[in-house]
Symmetry: C3
Subunit: 269 residues, 3 copies
């Protein structure tokens, strides 16, 4: 694994864990983090040995978006914001297109440019004490990081407007009910929250890493593409994907084990 300054990347078996690692700065995104996220995403998506990618934050925050102290607050920021958004979008886009499952563990506040990364998982675990916020209108900006792409697709247009135009935060307690997160991780105090989230994230990532990686990748891609394309084109892509997967070792193992008590041992190939 490459050596990073602002993020931490670790590997346990087929699971890679990527954590935002500027805890004293609430894991805000600076230029360095934006660049490191892109490099790490490219490495982890390309590495066939990584069969599940877990994303979380070190310290009490998940990610609170661009570090405003690095912005001037005027028109000279235009190029800087293009730079931030360009890197952030390459990171989020890489995870959304990754041919393997991504699970995010929202350990604390995810706001602004941190919201898209929190929501881009195929499975999103959220600690009860966490908080999801759009936050952009507070500084007179519109959303980026995939937030305005994901919100309507996750929770429908009305709830998306509530979150983004009204800028109403969603607590970890509510996030599953509204459809932002998959599962809630109970916690009490901050330390318990971080420990519970880390443990649950590792368990979920391990479970997904033991699955049929290519099938997950194909299903994930099909789910993402549903809204934007016609029935006919989508059915064609479904047929191509399922037929192509018959050539994998995991299909052979899954087919052989069908009806057995024991689940097949998938190898991700």
């Amino acid at each position: 694994m490459a050596d990073y300054e602002t993020i931490e990347v670790t590997r346990t078996g087929a699971v890679a864990r990527l954590a935002f690692d500027r805890p004293d700065a609430h894991n805000t995104l600076d230029r360095r983090m934006a660049e490191e996220l892109v490099d790490a995403a490219h490495d982890l998506v390309s590495d066939d040995g990584v069969r599940c990618l877990a994303v979380t934050g070190n310290g009490p925050a998940f990610n609170t978006g661009a570090d405003l102290t690095t912005l001037a607050g005027d028109g000279t920021d235009e190029a800087r914001l293009r730079g931030f958004a360009g890197h952030l979008h390459e990171f989020v886009g890489s995870l959304l297109r990754a041919p393997k499952p991504v699970v995010t563990g929202v350990n604390g506040v995810a706001a602004g440019g941190g919201l898209g990364p929190a929501l881009c998982g195929d499975v999103v675990l959220v600690a009860e004490g966490a908080r999801l916020e759009f936050a952009y209108p507070r500084i007179g900006l519109s959303g980026d990081g995939g937030s305005t792409y994901l919100l309507p697709r996750l929770v429908g247009l009305r709830r998306a407007q509530e979150l983004a135009v009204r800028d109403e935060p969603v607590s970890g307690r509510e996030a599953v009910d509204v459809g932002l997160a998959t599962e809630r991780v109970p916690d009490d105090e901050l330390d318990e929250r971080l420990a519970a989230e880390a443990e649950r994230l590792a368990a979920e990532a391990e479970r997904l890493a033991a699955g049929p990686t290519r099938a997950y990748g194909a299903t994930k891609r099909l789910l993402h593409r549903s809204f934007e394309q016609s029935l006919e084109r989508h059915l064609g892509e479904e047929a191509d994907a399922i037929a192509g997967l018959t050539n994998t070792e995991d299909y052979a193992r899954g087919h052989a084990a069908f009806g057995d008590e024991e689940a097949p041992e998938f190898v991700g190939e």
Copy 2:
């Protein structure tokens, strides 16, 4: 009605009922059923006398997808799966595009290739004891049958991922709350379940068959196309559809009866 081996097609008034009819094989899809479904769908969609199409399963299962005993479990299945998917997609696509309402009665388990047919109705009735499952990852495959097209559009991306990537089954009890089904049919034992579902399905189909068929067909098509197209194009299609319907007998009857106590008697023309 044509004579079929693996499905049963019956007709009562303006309602056609199509039932998967391999009860001893949990209504799995074999090559024969795949072909018969396409023929039946073409007939029933083309027949203007059929004003509502009801789809269900005979026996305790709805449809449990491809019959795995007819697959080899290796790369030689690629062409076979293209064949299955091709037929299944022509069936599901025909129902989704049909210019008349389709109601599905999910009497029991709908899994794998049986999930799309269960979900493709304009109205989906589900027996409490039924179960909806994605199931594909268990054999290392991705979804087909329109399942990955319909899931995000029905329940949003997050719930779709939960069903498809995590492969979590949804019970008949939960299916309405999450947005997969329209209405729950209460039941107790298996026999009661099948009787209750059949009765409710017939009643709903009869009600829809008595409605303004062409208006239903146009509305259905517009709802399906919403996500994938721009506002401007969609508004144009709405205008074309509503203006075109003024030439129907049902509009004349509906307009004449407006404000009356009695509902108009629609003729489907």
Copy 3:
């Protein structure tokens, strides 16, 4: 403000209020209203001094769609319905594309051609005693006014089918839970309902008018476009929008005030 016969347009500070004003005819749309709505929308969307647009109905109804007494009930209505739909769609489309927030106050029944205008707000307030109805099948027609565009995007395909194919009305009490409305305004008797809705509508519009108008406009547009376009194109539009907004006075004010107790005073430029 121009002088209108069938609608009432008033202005308070940066808020414009547009009310359907044929209370004795349940605010049905006639040719005159359709034309006046288009003129008013063009004026209010173009006027940079208007930073929030509030839409509601005078009297007990919100808007109950086309005035059927102006229709013949036969094929000669085809051109008339194209005319109605053309105007209604220009009105609804203008609000959906407006670079400023729109809040609708659904004071009473919104049905048929009145449903799209009720649902097209970025914030939709609904009085408990109000009712949202598709209603088109009753007269043998399909939906217009953006209703079939908005319903699936707001509440998913299944709920949209329930509302539109089954034609099931939604009460003001249920509208928030299903995702049609943002917030419910409690009421008791008719007079209290109208007073409560008017007060809540004015307060919400005032709040939105004090926000970063251009940022709201960009976010709104991005949320509307999510479903229909690819991830890559959407991320590009997010980057263009957020970078472009750095040139606004509201960004300078928002950035300067970040971390302050007091919210910035936005000017809409």
